[in-house]
């Protein structure tokens, strides 16, 4: 039994691969069957990743990693998968988004192009692999898997806008992949290893000349990851692409930009921590100010966007920027809250992307006319009394309610989890510099506040023109299966608020293990080979 549990780590990679491959063999017409297989796969994935999360959470603070040695070769020589709290968290987030996006696609989207389900599963495989892998080159391979699948998903549904956006998206990402390769091989040339734990161990012992080369390698790698994460000025492709992609694809992409953030967090905390000698804290200011510029750019974009999909695209930038800047502060408490923000904003943005398409169905050319039903938009109390009798169709009420929830979530207002996250980050920032708060910290806090305000203004404006419009003939036809994922994601955020204590405790434990990289390195490098307890790594 223990043997089976040990092999659980590789399931999130193998399962989508197998199910994707099987679905290739089925006829394109048997969509119901494929949908069933897809849903079943994602449900199993969710179960497995929740199981892994529990395993990771049960690990003692001092040895917070579990490794899986492929081919049973020990760490620096063989390929390892590494499970710790952070990767388990990302796995759960991925499978939650996958279920939501897949359910949504079953209503309509999976019919509009070939092989949607296979590509979707391969995308999941790439994401899970990127979260689990323990060495740089396999990270590259899994990045390519997830990117190749994402090219397919961007183009899913065809149409000029998607092909045009897809062309730019592919060109950008191919370039980023080349940068990734240059950085990874340069790091190998300097240190002689690609295993992340081994790399981290060797950095303090680099000769000064080599340290400079390694810094160059890290900068090139960082550029590649920041490109994927959508940091300014490498992010002009992102809103266009995400807005052009079909709704379920865009919802899944909400986690894709977080892969870049995840990798930066993992590698930066691992390699350039206090033990790294002359390279300690390398690039921290770039992350901090790059993140702040991304927030600013995203905020302006949110305010300027003329359409809902683009608004959602720019909120991705705000979210990424916030995370990158929070990582750049290097403070454990800030990063803990930032992880909370990562979960909350990813769920919120995914829900928004799904919702946007439903709302767009409702907006006919005359939708901008301000009309009567203020109740459809919710809590405003200055309704003219005589309008009370207007019937609000349930669909519009649910759509409007979800839209409000998304706005609250992304703007960071109570009572949803966005508020808890932002409040946690700001409170930690005020404390991190000691008695006097740095100017850059003030700037970051200001930017966070302004970006929340801008999101609120932009979403209110769009909400007014969509939901307060005349709706005699424009009640959208929305199916339960499309509405359920949106509501589900938002309810999860509500749950995250109510269960804020335990969730925050998990994030803090995650940050603690991130800040103790020697646990990670010894955990990976000294893990015993399966079956031979004796001749373990010395």
């Amino acid at each position: 039994m223990a043997g089976v549990i040990d092999h659980l780590i590789i399931v999130p990679i193998l399962l989508p691969l197998i199910s994707g491959a099987v679905m290739l063999l089925l006829a394109e017409r048997s969509r119901a069957l494929k949908g069933g297989i897809g849903i079943a796969t994602t449900l199993v994935l969710l179960t497995v990743s929740v199981g892994l999360l529990q395993q990771a959470d049960a690990m003692p603070a001092t040895s917070s990693v579990r490794t899986y040695q492929l081919g049973n070769w020990p760490a620096p020589f063989g390929i390892v998968l590494v499970l710790d709290r952070l990767s388990a968290l990302m796995l759960v987030l991925t499978s939650v988004l996958a279920i939501a996006a897949l359910l949504y696609s079953l209503a309509r989207w999976h019919r509009v192009g070939p092989r949607f389900h296979t590509i979707f599963q391969l995308q999941l495989m790439g994401l899970n692999g990127a979260f689990l892998t323990g060495d740089l080159f396999n990270l590259f391979v899994f990045f390519e898997v997830l990117l190749a699948a994402s090219y397919g998903l961007v183009l899913h549904g065809d149409g000029t806008a998607r092909v045009k956006a897809g062309l730019a998206y592919i060109a950008i990402n191919l370039t980023a992949s080349l940068l990734f390769l240059i950085g990874a091989s340069l790091a190998y040339g300097v240190t002689g290893t690609l295993n992340m734990a081994d790399l981290a161990n060797r950095i303090p012992h680099l000769a000064p000349a080599d340290a400079a080369l390694f810094a160059a390698a890290a900068a090139i790698l960082g550029t590649a990851f920041l490109m994927k994460a959508g940091a300014w000025p490498l992010n002009f492709w992102l809103p266009t692409t995400y807005a052009a992609a079909s709704a379920p694809a865009a919802a899944l992409f909400a986690i894709m930009s977080k892969v870049g953030v995840y990798v930066i967090l993992r590698l930066w905390m691992l390699m350039f921590n206090g033990d790294a000698g002359s390279l300690a804290g390398f690039g921290g200011n770039w992350l901090l100010f790059g993140g702040m510029l991304s927030i600013a750019f995203g905020t302006i974009g949110v305010l300027a966007s003329q359409s809902l999909p683009r608004l959602a695209g720019y909120s991705v930038l705000v979210s990424s920027g916030t995370l990158i800047a929070a990582i750049g502060t290097g403070s454990g408490a800030v990063i803990g809250s930032a992880l909370f923000y990562l979960i909350s904003s990813t769920l919120g943005i995914a829900a928004l992307f799904l919702l946007v398409e439903l709302v767009e169905r409702m907006r006919d050319p005359g939708a901008d006319v301000l009309a009567v039903t203020m109740e459809a938009y919710g809590e405003s109390d200055d309704d003219p009394e005589e309008e009370v009798g207007v019937a609000i169709p349930a669909t519009v009420a649910i759509l409007g309610g979800s839209f409000i929830a998304c706005a609250l979530l992304l703007a960071g207002l109570p009572p949803l989890s966005g508020f808890v996250a932002k409040f946690g980050m700001m409170a930690a920032m005020l404390k991190m510099d000691g008695a006097s708060v740095h100017a850059s910290t003030w700037a970051l806090i200001g930017l966070l506040t302004v970006s929340g305000l801008a999101t609120l203004i932009a979403m209110t404006r769009t909400g007014i023109s969509s939901f307060w419009a005349r709706m005699d003939e424009s009640i959208p036809r929305v199916r339960v299966i499309e509405m359920a994922p949106v509501v589900g994601l938002l309810l999860l955020c509500l749950g995250l608020t109510i269960g804020g204590g335990p969730a925050m405790r998990y994030m803090e434990a995650t940050t603690q293990s991130l800040r103790a990289p020697q646990d990670y390195t010894t955990g990976v490098l000294q893990a015993p080979r399966a079956g031979s307890q004796r001749e373990t790594a010395q």
């Binding site: 190749a148 045009k164 370039t175 190998y188 690609l194």
Partner: protein, 114 residues
């Protein structure tokens, strides 16, 4: 001398690749990306240090002097990178043709400059 020729080759490939990548025609972009990937593949190979006539496979287990052998790892990495790049180039080519068909132009923006 070897190193110089190698470095110059990588440099020329990169420079040509970047220049082509910034051109407005999709075909130039794809050729630029290909040239860049050649440069990167050579670079990865070079990261294993250049050696002439050294085998990458250990012949017998005893008496190993690593200096006599080429580093096999970058060669394996290059192989992987070549395969992935090949696949991505093929995919990009398809999108390029689709874009040409849908927009009627081979400009990267999908419309001609006016």
């Amino acid at each position: 001398m070897n190193e110089l020729v190698f470095a110059v080759a990588v440099g020329i490939l990169t420079a040509s690749g970047v220049w082509l990548l910034l051109r407005p025609r999709t075909f130039q972009v794809i050729i630029g990306l290909s040239l860049l990937s050649y440069a990167v593949n050579l670079f990865i190979f070079g990261m294993g240090r250049l050696q002439v006539g050294a085998p990458p496979v250990l012949e017998n287990a005893e008496a190993i002097d690593p200096a006599l052998y080429a580093d096999p790892l970058p060669q394996a990495l290059v192989l992987t990178a070549i395969v992935i790049n090949f696949a991505m180039t093929a995919l990009f080519l398809v999108v390029l043709l689709a874009s040409r068909g849908l927009t009627g132009t081979d400009h990267v923006d999908g419309r001609e400059d006016t």
